[in-house]
């Protein structure tokens, strides 16, 4: 029967009882994939990735034609740190990508919950066999997966490409830890950002206000951290700034040195966990209230 001539009839199919949270996450990503601004932002992020792919390829070309480069006067390229494939390259990639990922997460997440509230969709969703836990998990998963696919995934692929080009097991044994380090730093970038954006979205009834609120919190916390550290002449106060805490964890993951390594790592991790737990609690509370009103 052609689909347009079908009408209401008894449903006799089977119903899946689990993984409804994945349906929520899938729908969220599906919706995002239709938005032009989102596509534009992702394209910029991909161009950034492409730039690093080129560096890795150039590095390999240089490595296999060193003599030729030296003769043509391009031997100085070995001195340019930015063109060397090492842990610092991965750290720098993630550090710059974090800004783009943050923007994309704000765009993607600021309306994720608030729009459902504004459009009265919560009542419809929760009248179906969907719990507030499924809903919360689905929304969080969508954003975290999106964020990791823009940060951790390219980093891991760069590592795979680099080792594939080297075809040297000794090198792989020496640099395998760049993979987990990338995932660790990417998680430190993505998870708090995703949860904070969703928390703002759960509290606000406007996508725009939620986005502005997250920006304000980030700017305010950074400013306050720098001011406190300067006034009290103690870099530990930079812990108030979430971006600096994230950066501190990135430095630790890739064994890099910098001004921020003066911040205590344990405190930084604690701060990040506190931010995540608080944001998650806000999301759970707001969403649960939509399912269990009184």
């Amino acid at each position: 029967m052609p689909i347009y001539s079908q009408t209401y009839r008894t449903y006799d199919g089977t119903l899946r009882r689990h993984f409804r949270w994945w349906t929520v996450a899938e729908q969220e990503l599906r919706l995002l994939a239709r938005a032009r601004i989102f596509k534009g932002l992702v394209l910029i992020a991909l161009l950034h990735c492409l730039f690093y792919v080129l560096i890795i390829l150039l590095n390999e070309v240089y490595r296999s034609n060193q003599e030729l480069f030296r003769q043509s006067g391009l031997g100085f390229l070995t001195q340019v740190r930015e063109f060397m494939v090492d842990e610092r390259l991965f750290y720098m990639f993630l550090r710059f990508q974090s800004g783009l990922a943050f923007l994309i997460l704000i765009y993607a997440g600021s309306g994720a919950i608030s729009n459902d509230f504004v459009n009265n969709l919560m009542e419809v969703y929760f009248a179906k066999p969907l719990t507030w836990i499924d809903y919360t998990l689905g929304k969080c998963c969508a954003l975290v997966l999106l964020g990791l696919s823009l940060t951790a995934l390219p980093a891991v692929l760069f590592l795979a490409l680099h080792n594939a080009l080297l075809a040297d097991l000794d090198q792989l044994a020496a640099n395998w830890w760049w993979g987990p380090a990338s995932v660790g730093f990417a998680s430190a970038i993505v998870v708090p950002a995703a949860l904070c954006v969703l928390a703002a979205s759960a509290l606000s009834r406007s996508q725009r206000y939620a986005a502005i609120a997250v920006f304000m919190v980030v700017i305010a916390s950074s400013t306050m951290g720098v001011l406190l550290a300067q006034m009290l002449r103690d870099p530990q106060y930079l812990i108030v700034s979430v971006p600096m805490v994230v950066n501190r964890i990135g430095l630790a993951c890739f064994r890099q040195r910098g001004y921020l390594t003066r911040i205590d790592l344990g405190l930084s991790l604690g701060m990040l966990v506190l931010v995540c737990v608080t944001a998650f609690w806000i999301i759970c509370r707001a969403v649960r209230r939509a399912e269990v009103a009184a």
């Binding site: 938005a35 009542e123 419809v124 009248a127 009184a294």
Partner: protein
């Protein structure tokens, strides 16, 4: 209680109390609904929506027992919700997707596979007569189209019970009739139990055969509409063959009160302060007046109490 008690009740409420802080929204509500189309009538703020939300498990009863399909709520909320379709009162829209995509998502939330959900979405949208506009983004829909989508999403999984909260809100007269016809079809031909909450009495009368009247969080009246609108023994609809003026004069002389209606009928009642004997003799007095006027009665029937009167009586008592 609504129902005969022979079959298992779809909905059972026993001394249910729901409060929002200090405000008691439902107070000692008890009823049982077996099936068919049941209207939930009450003025604004009576507790109709709270009752529906309690059935869905959104509001938790502070005391009493709520069960649907024999399963206690909210403990078995997920199982129960598989058998319920809910059309909320407020406008629902997913602006950036089409109705087909929205319904497919709803179907998948219930647990259908993508293909099943897509197929069911088309079926439900065809049923509510949403044509090619189902492919347009929902932000372009009129109120009537959004109401149809709301109904379709409630039906997508073929529920045993549909809870409709003010389904004709914001609809023009034609849209309203179409919506009510759809609901009547669901309850009639499709055999789905319908609980229709409304403060519009004609809507309820158009669709339902039973009503529950609620006021100030309490059930004040319940039963079949034809039982609640029983014929009155103190009010008759009369039409005579000819000599209507003489007949009216005879009624006046007998101390009866009459009122001419459109269509040539007279509504006749005993005068003010009439006792029981006058009321019981009303039929013979009208016959006597016709005889005295030298005419014949062509139409004679007791006036039925309207649902509105029954409602006003009940709400007044509440």
């Amino acid at each position: 209680m609504i129902g005969t008690g022979r079959r298992m009740a779809l909905i059972e409420l026993e001394d249910v109390r729901v409060a929002y802080g200090d405000l008691v929204a439902l107070d000692g509500v008890s009823c049982a609904i077996e099936g068919g189309a049941v209207g939930l009538l009450g003025p604004n703020g009576a507790g109709k929506s709270t009752l529906i939300r309690t059935l869905l498990g959104f509001n938790r009863a502070s005391s009493g027992r709520v069960s649907l399909f024999g399963k206690a709520m909210p403990r078995h909320a997920l199982e129960v919700r598989l058998g319920i379709g809910y059309m909320p009162e407020r406008e629902v829209s997913s602006p950036k997707v089409s109705a087909v995509n929205f319904l497919t998502y709803c179907g998948r939330l219930i647990g259908m596979s993508y293909l099943d959900a897509m197929e069911r979405a088309h079926e439900a949208l065809s049923y509510v007569r949403l044509g090619d506009s189902r492919y347009r983004l929902m932000e372009t829909y009129s109120t009537g189209m959004l109401q149809r989508v709301k109904l379709a999403q409630a039906l997508i999984h073929d529920p045993k019970l549909v809870l409709l909260d003010e389904p004709t809100n914001g609809l023009d007269p034609t849209g309203r009739i179409q919506m009510l016809d759809l609901i009547r079809d669901i309850a009639g031909r499709r055999g789905v139990a319908v609980l229709l909450s409304s403060h519009l009495l004609p809507d309820v009368q158009h669709v339902c055969d039973r009503v529950i009247m609620i006021n100030n969080g309490r059930i004040v009246q319940e039963g079949r509409i034809d039982e609640l609108t029983t014929p009155r023994d103190d009010l008759f609809e009369v039409r005579v063959r000819d000599r209507e003026a003489v007949f009216c004069a005879a009624l006046d002389r007998a101390g009866m009160v009459w009122k001419a209606e459109r269509g040539g009928n007279l509504i006749v009642s005993p005068g003010n302060g009439a006792g029981t004997s006058e009321i019981s003799n009303l039929k013979s007095q009208i016959s006597e007046a016709a005889r005295a006027a030298g005419t014949h009665i062509r139409h004679f029937r007791p006036v039925r109490r309207s649902l509105e009167e029954a409602f006003m009586d009940a709400v007044g008592r509440g």
